[in-house]
């Protein structure tokens, strides 16, 4: 078992003919993900990657022809909101947006629309997700994680890779690793993932990697205290971040004195979560 994606996921790649799209489609295919279609307006009818994946002009055409049930977006930030709307209108229930730099007002409109249609979005500005041994939808390097019983959810990319790798070194593996992304307004949040991991029979423990900005970690702490039976280990990045500055991620900012790492650590510890002082401490806290 796993959450969100597994070996039955039929994936559509939006922006498949670009450098990123092609490269990661290749990687996902090699991992065993069923990539059934790609889109690129104007290139419908072509095939990419030695005839492995057909290209369509629109999501609607791709879904009709292939029965795609998830989509991943590799288009530039200016066009990403439109790509999300298009996938949602084509009836795709799960959309992953890798693109970084989407305007925040666009995201508010996207989120409002998707909520009304009950479509789930992961990202934007995220590395996607990986169910080791089954499917990879995104850019998380497949070789750094092994199958196991730990659910991993994170706002970061390379920091998550660190954690997966540290787990692998001691023989620990993941059910699913979900990168929810570093933007202030995103599709899927910590709470959604914790709830799915709690319901997933294969997941025994959860690692949650947060960072400064917003109050999602605090909300997660409330959920953990009141609803979760599985142990959660956490790490919060940005202890030394100065207030008022965006630390790379659009959402990583301490605003009006709130969103500090100290507040988040305090809320999590109060909820019984073991919080690591640095990422390499995580495996020992899971034992």
């Amino acid at each position: 078992m796993s959450i969100l994606v597994d070996k039955n996921t039929r994936l559509l790649v939006q922006g498949i003919t670009g450098n990123e799209g092609l490269f990661h489609t290749q990687q996902m295919l090699e991992y065993g993900t069923k990539v059934v279609a790609g889109t690129r307006p104007g290139k419908g009818g072509e095939w990419v990657l030695d005839g492995k994946v057909p290209v369509f002009d629109s999501c609607k055409a791709a879904v009709e022809a292939t029965g795609a049930n998830a989509s991943i977006i590799f288009v530039a930030a200016a066009f990403a909101p439109d790509a999300i709307f298009e996938a949602a209108d084509a009836g795709i229930p799960f959309i992953v947006c890798i693109t970084e730099g989407v305007a925040v007002q666009d995201m508010m409109r996207v989120r409002e629309y998707l909520d009304q249609k009950q479509v789930r979005l992961l990202g934007p500005n995220c590395p996607g997700l990986l169910t080791p041994g089954e499917a990879k939808v995104g850019i998380i390097p497949g070789n750094i994680a092994i199958p196991g019983d730990i659910g991993v959810v994170s706002r970061s990319g390379t920091l998550t890779y660190e954690v997966l790798y540290a787990l692998k070194l001691v023989g620990m593996g993941a059910t699913t690793c979900v990168g929810i992304g570093g933007d202030p307004i995103n599709g899927t949040n910590f709470l959604d993932c914790l709830s799915m991991f709690e319901d997933d029979p294969r997941t025994e423990k959860v690692v949650m990697i947060g960072e400064i900005g917003g109050t999602d970690e605090e909300k997660a702490a409330q959920f953990i205290a009141s609803k979760m039976t599985k142990p959660v280990v956490s790490f919060i990045a940005g202890q030394t971040a100065p207030p008022g500055k965006r630390m790379g991620h659009a959402g990583a900012i301490i605003e009006g004195g709130s969103g500090t790492a100290a507040e988040k650590v305090k809320a999590l510890e109060a909820a019984g979560v073991k919080v690591a002082k640095h990422p390499e401490e995580i495996p020992s806290l899971l034992k």
Binding site: A77, Q105, I139, G157, L159, T240, P242, P279
Partner: protein, 377 residues
Amino acid sequence: MKLHEYQSKQLFAKYGIPIPKGRVAATATEARQIAEELGGRVVVKSQVLVGGRGKAGGIRLAKSAKEAEEVATQILGMEIKGLPVRKVLVDQAANIDKEIYLGITNDRAARRPVFMASAAGGVEIEEVARTNPEKIIKVHIDPLLGLRDYQARDIAIGIDLPKEYWKLFVDICRGLWRVYVECDATLAEINPLVIVKEKTLLALDGKMLLDDNALFRHPDLAEMRDVDEEASAETEARKYGLSFIKLDGNIGCMVNGAGLAMTTMDIIKLFGGEPANFLDIGGGAGADKVAAALRIILSDKNVKTIMFNVFGGITRCDEVAKGILAALKEVKLTIPMVVRLVGTNAEEGLRLLADAHMITAETLADAAKKSVAAAKA
């Protein structure tokens, strides 16, 4: 991106929000001329991108053009929170009856824009939020529908605005909503919005923050960026697509990925050191980017050592190592550098760097300890 008060108010005026008559001046002589045109009684306001200008003496009333020149001379020589004042706004002084706060911002938790208003204007809204949170009226806006007039009226009623001002207030709310949407602002704030003796409303002060991610569709607004007010290293970093923030320590950090870059700073601190910066070199990390990052870090004379921390996922460590070697041909390194490469092709990467006199480390903790030791040596 932050806009100056005068820039924000110019945008407000374009969207029909009434502002005082006035212009910006870079010299005291100009300030006097503007004051003369405005009839003498003016407010001279320093234009710097920090709060607390009034408390610092950067906003002052002048009763004549001559006094405006004197006041401008003083303000133009000031530094406010470390920023030198290069411009002043000279506005016609208003006869204030009452001050109101009105602003729109993104409510991250609600995932919607929110109008905020308070009858206690003129002070920072964060201050009101701390001391009298019940005095702030909040109205969330459906981002697909936009502001409806009844919502603006609800705000007017909520702050006990006298009826005769409702129509004008609704117009101002509409204007503020449009300027927020059409400029992709993350904050559009009028503080204070004042009722003046002449029985009308006027936006005396304005503040706007724009979404950097949306500037691609606003080239005109992007040009309004005041690079004089940024640390020059941050301007330089942006040119190379690097995300850089200067801090006060002495260990320079070069990392791929924002989360890992923050973690690198944190772990340096955890082991007794002080990070000199946040720097995310992003994916790829080719020679040109690494060289630019090295130059930016080394321009800070406090830096005693550099910690280079890369987790190779899609980015291959051997490519990164080649990037470092090529960059070092261009930028001469006179301080120790601790390198940690983990992930895809890490062994190959470390082998390439073996002859380059670098301190290598395997784990994050090990790299941090070695960096702290090198900085103290």
